[in-house]
Symmetry: C2
């Protein structure tokens, strides 16, 4: 049985990608949640991940330690991971890879925290540039492949790669056009996304550095967690 190592569901956007992909495609796996903790967790995470980062998939055949490579590993076992059409598949891989190495401002100014709501002080020009590109990319996929998912009728790995963005849009109230907001709602409504958030709400840990990073560019509007004792 594959075993997926992930960090806190409240914060870990990278962990969410393979998790939601496998859950949504009904692929069985065990999960191990290792909380970030405060300060460097590199040495602790190195116990199970060669980069000291999550996610990391332990398979019967060996360790697969990068989110995009986990998708490719799974795709060799399950043909639903990527779209069937050659160019839809190429497009989906490009869009997922663009998220993998890009959208730096969106990722740094709006860290994932799927259980709070934040009012941003402002949308910086760099953040707006990321949002512009994001919407252009999503509109292209939804229109070119017919929706309701980015590369066609089925949820595939490219949608999984943008699931953390859906939480970010919800948390920070990011302004998107109608087709993109509808796509965000579609992702948030997925059973696997609802399960992730429910489990996030139950987590006992709060990492101060992560909490503060989420409020660096705005003010707390709502915390959906029950107060700590």
């Amino acid at each position: 049985m594959n075993k997926l190592y992930i960090a806190n569901k409240v914060y870990s956007s990278w962990s969410l990608r393979p998790w939601v992909l496998m859950k949504q495609l009904l692929m069985k796996f065990d999960e191990v949640v290792v909380p970030f903790g405060e300060g460097s967790n590199w040495a602790a995470f190195r116990q199970f991940s060669p980069t000291g980062k999550v996610p990391c998939l332990h398979t019967d055949q060996g360790v697969v330690w990068d989110s995009l490579s986990i998708a490719e590993y799974l795709a060799e076992k399950n043909h639903r991971v990527w779209p069937n059409d050659t160019m839809a598949r190429a497009w989906a891989r490009c869009a997922a890879a663009e998220m993998h190495s890009g959208f730096a401002t969106l990722r740094s100014q709006c860290p994932m925290n799927c259980v709070i709501e934040v009012k941003l002080d402002q949308i910086s020009s760099q953040l707006q540039a990321d949002l512009n590109r994001l919407q252009e990319l999503w509109r292209e996929g939804l229109s070119r492949f017919g929706g309701p998912f980015l590369a066609g009728a089925e949820f595939t790995a490219v949608d999984a790669f943008f699931c953390p963005v859906a939480f970010r849009v919800q948390t920070y109230g990011l302004p998107l056009d109608e087709p993109c907001q509808a796509y965000v709602q579609r992702l948030l409504s997925l059973p696997a996304m609802q399960l992730w958030r429910e489990q996030a709400l139950q987590e006992p840990w709060r990492e101060e550095a992560h909490e503060q990073a989420c409020l660096a560019a705005g003010t707390l509007r709502r915390d959906h967690r029950t107060p700590q004792a």
Copy 2:
């Protein structure tokens, strides 16, 4: 015929990856070199690339705009792009993806410039951490799959992803252990790498911002280009 859009061969590490992969595997393609120029080239690059970045592959079937996705697109046509063994392939994809989203200090403190030599003032602790991980990764691949390339006997996409690092090691005289230095020499000796560097030496452009970035952390030891008129 596939057409690969790239930027200056002197500086463009991302461009080098698919270029050296296709050249080394004897895959035919046309290339279009568009120099970076000074200041923002986003609008100019957007003419041929949806992200405004290079590399970008134009195929008969459509545009493939990310280096890792170009490798996957080519892999569907050519079985030599990735190793044949399942776990060697998974390992190769993880290592390439780690380069795709990581090694940030190595990339920022040692920008690629394959025609000069620079003496670094010092190796910062963050740079040393990147070099430590790099060597661990390379040693693992070389030992586990038997060499002389990272994932076995043949040059595959994972080697292509580390070709820019080989130039960086040469340019900045980065200290690596013996097996890793030997691997760097192996990459630098590839016909495709030698061709890239010869063509870089012939380029007429010098981009001041790029040249200065290469000297930000050290002093010029040698410039292999002929002096400009």
